[in-house]
């Protein structure tokens, strides 16, 4: 299994996200061949005009959702850290949903089993489609670097302008 440093996941940038839900449509199109946000593995939230963010699976270490499943229907992929669901075992009991702090694992409106981000074989379609480039397919290390660079740029914007 990739280490926590190597695992890439879909991360949303609240500064860029405008809450347009294009990610949801892209996800349902890819996985379900239809347009239906309720079948999307990523969901956008608009708390108010100023707070918008799309949320999907963060591929936790020792995933609480896996641990919570009483029927061993969930396991974490050795290959990329995504959560794999055995639909024969899942009965939609929802323990995994309660265990997830991010609301990233959901109950499918039709199959009545849980479903979650699978990273589209390494090419997440939500990231591909996001018109605001608010979604990144990246690692936590890269995110922290990025945040540091942004913070320092802000601190020294005058000096940078002077260049």
């Amino acid at each position: 299994m990739p280490t926590i440093h190597e695992k890439k996941f879909v991360s949303g940038d609240p500064a860029k996200c405008i809450g347009c839900c294009v990610c949801e449509y892209a996800c349902s199109l890819k996985h379900e061949k239809t347009f239906n946000p309720t079948k999307s593995r990523i969901r956008a939230i608009r708390l108010n005009s100023f707070v918008n963010l799309a949320v999907s699976c963060r591929l936790c270490e020792d995933s609480p959702c896996v641990a919570a499943c009483p029927r061993d229907a969930l396991r974490q992929s050795d290959e990329n850290g995504t959560i794999l669901i055995d639909e024969d075992k899942c009965n939609g009991c929802g323990w995994c949903i309660e265990a997830c702090d991010y609301g990233a694992i959901q109950l499918h409106p039709e199959t009545k089993k849980v479903f979650v981000c699978d990273l589209c074989d390494g090419e997440p379609q939500c990231v591909e489609w996001c018109p605001e480039e608010a979604l990144d397919f990246t690692t936590k290390d890269v995110l922290s670097q990025k945040a540091r660079r942004t913070a320092v740029k802000k601190l020294f914007q005058d000096a940078l302008k002077g260049e």
Binding site: C20, E32, F35, N36, T38, K39, S49, F50, N52, P131
Partner: protein
């Protein structure tokens, strides 16, 4: 196929609901949105119906692209009914998130008939339809109503379209608002909802929306996203529509102090540039649309500190320059209040400006306003006037909640000179004295004064015509614009994104065909646009208007030349030139000199069944 092929009928009197199939021939002939809505309204109503009576059906329409990921069209809906403001057919569109829920719930349209005994809201949860008590929502703003309903139904993703106090109190300028800032703004559709005791429509849809050719469709959507990053949408993504303030001011077309002046000395202070630098905190978007245009402004300090609203040019203009107000903080608060009470942001400013003009000219006095000093430029009075009109407080609030036309009738005297409306609908933000193609275009619009029924200001602003006069040749420009906009509003594409349809009608026909699987050519779709315009005109004739007599301009536009030193000094629309313009327009339309569609024209556009209505009218005019 992106039509749900089902229409939901809700009888508010009995509480009974029924689902009927959508006639697919109508879905092709009238496209969807306003076209299909107006056709259905005609078929479901009796001639001369009182707009605020239970007999006036209210249509919540989706378009053929609603529910898909089509940018700017996937999220839309339209409301169609007879307008209590204009007595003509009324229609308005809104985007945001609400519209797509209707389609996902499995309906192309929701039709409300009758009147509930008590205030209720409709809760449409896929197949389940309930009317729930809304007494506890009485007096709440659309935003508060939305929040309360989502809270009590226990799902954050439910979408709500609601009226405020103005709609409950049957103000003829009341609107319907969804998703906090998105309005079914014009023509008093909120009052129609209020007259039915329908506070809100809450919808949750979980069904799939499919398109006929998913690969071609998504490829096209990708192209549209790319185009949206280009020049066609630059204005909306950057300064937003308030960019118009300085543009129109330079053209002497920024109507000021109730169409007294055509330039505003305070323009810089209320410009899009100033707004973005000092007030805009975030620019957000609607569902499926990455263009993002919603400029959310917050007042950072002073007496209106914390006031937040979505600012577009029209409302900024009506509450700003038109009232002589040069303070953006007060304008932001005024727009917030208009949204709070649920009133059309254009009409409300024009109504207050009329009140100010009446006050300045002694037509109304302190006694009528209960001491409110309604001088132009008095921002505190502007805000207080909106409060009173929104709540119908006192003689003043009650009278002006009726809109400019009826307020003038109630007041009498010279008040009509200050009522800037066409067919009862308040003018939008273009000084028609210096944009005369627009003047002609606005006058013939089937829903009253409207810049979005033809975009007729465009040749004036671009400089492709002499905008200070009217002459033959303008008719064709308006007709082409109207037919195109009927297509746009029936697909319910956001007009901000019209520029990304690089191939125009060809792109739109293709969009329709890829989504629905119903063959559609550019020629067919523009014919549908023409059909829809004729349909609307015949509806207005059936309702007692829709003739040359109604295609008029406000007194000031015809009688009050621009007084100040500027490029437009002395400009006004001359009646004889206006007559030439009207006749030119009717000729291009294939209508009589009285503005009535001829039986031949109706047959040509496939409206054979409406021929008796015009024949009767033509015969009565000859008498």
């Amino acid at each position: 196929m992106s039509f749900a092929k089902r229409i939901l009928y809700v009888d508010l009197t009995t509480g009974k609901t029924e689902v009927k199939p959508l006639d697919m021939k109508l879905a092709k002939d009238y496209i969807g949105g306003i076209g299909l809505g107006m056709k259905l309204w005609l078929d479901h109503s009796k001639a001369g119906v009182d707009p605020l009576s239970p007999e006036n059906p209210l249509f919540f329409m989706t378009g053929p692209l609603t529910g898909t990921m089509a940018p700017s069209a996937g999220n839309s809906y339209a409301v169609v009914s007879k307008s209590p403001l204009t007595n003509t057919i009324g229609e308005a569109k809104a985007h945001g998130f609400f519209g797509s829920e209707i389609k996902r719930a499995g309906y192309d349209a929701i039709v409300f008939t009758g009147k509930s005994e008590k205030l209720v809201y409709a809760w449409i949860d896929d197949e389940s339809v309930q009317l729930l008590d809304a007494e506890h929502l009485k007096g709440k703003s659309p935003g508060e109503t939305d929040e309360t309903i989502r809270e009590e139904l226990g799902d954050f993703y439910i979408r709500v379209s609601a009226i405020g106090e103005a709609g409950e109190k049957l103000s003829r300028i009341a609107c319907i608002i969804n998703d906090e800032y998105r309005a079914i703004g014009r023509g008093g559709m909120g009052a129609v909802m209020g007259s039915k005791n329908l506070k809100a429509v809450a919808v949750r849809g979980t069904h799939d929306v499919d398109v006929a050719d998913v690969e071609a469709f998504t490829e096209f959507v990708r192209t549209v996203h790319e185009r949206m990053k280009g020049p066609a949408t630059r204005k909306y993504r950057t300064l937003g529509t308030p960019e118009n303030v300085l543009v129109l001011n330079a053209l002497a077309s920024l109507a000021t102090r109730n169409f007294t002046n055509a330039t505003f000395e305070g323009a810089e202070k209320v410009s899009g540039e100033y707004l973005n630098e000092h007030y805009v905190k975030k620019i957000i978007g609607c569902a499926t649309c990455g263009m993002r245009c919603d400029h959310i402004a917050v007042v950072p300090e002073g007496q209106y500190k914390g006031s937040t609203s979505r600012v577009e040019f029209e409302c900024l203009w009506s509450c700003g320059p038109l009232c002589g107000v040069d303070r953006l903080d007060a304008i932001i608060e005024a727009i917030r209040l208009a949204d709070y009470y649920g009133m059309d942001g254009i009409s409300i400013g024009v109504v207050v400006a009329m009140a100010m003009d009446c006050y300045e000219n002694g037509v109304i006095t302190d006694k009528d306003t209960d001491g409110l000093k309604l001088n132009f430029g008095n921002h505190e009075s502007l805000v207080e006037a909106i409060r009173r009109i929104g709540t119908r407080t006192g003689w003043f609030g009650d009278t002006f909640a009726e809109g400019t036309k009826r307020a003038a009738e109630i007041i009498g005297k010279d008040a009509y000179k200050y009522a800037n409306h066409i067919k009862g609908m308040e003018l939008p933000g273009y000084d028609l004295r210096t944009l005369q193609t627009a003047a002609l275009g606005f006058s013939v619009s089937f829903r009253g004064a409207c810049h979005l029924r033809s975009g007729a200001y465009s040749p004036d602003v671009k400089g492709s015509v002499d905008r200070f006069k009217l002459e033959a040749g303008r008719g064709k420009m308006i007709v082409d614009g109207e037919d195109l906009y009927n297509v746009v509003d029936s697909l319910i594409l956001c007009k901000f994104s019209r520029g990304v349809m690089y191939e125009g009608l060809k792109d739109m026909a293709l969009y329709y065909e890829m989504a629905t699987g119903i063959p559609m050519t550019a020629e067919e779709i523009i014919l549908a646009g023409e059909r829809i315009n004729n349909l609307a005109r015949v509806i207005n004739i059936r309702e007692g208007g829709g003739t040359r007599k109604e295609d008029q301009l406000p007194w000031k536009i015809l009688n009050f030349p621009v007084p100040e030193e500027c490029i437009g000094k002395g400009a006004y629309v001359k009646q004889h030139e206006f007559d030439v313009g009207l006749e030119d327009y009717y000729k291009v339309r294939g209508w009589t000199k009285d503005g009535i569609p001829t039986p031949e024209k109706l047959k040509e556009v496939g409206l054979d069944d409406l021929v008796p209505i015009v024949k009767k009218k033509i015969a009565s005019m000859e008498k």
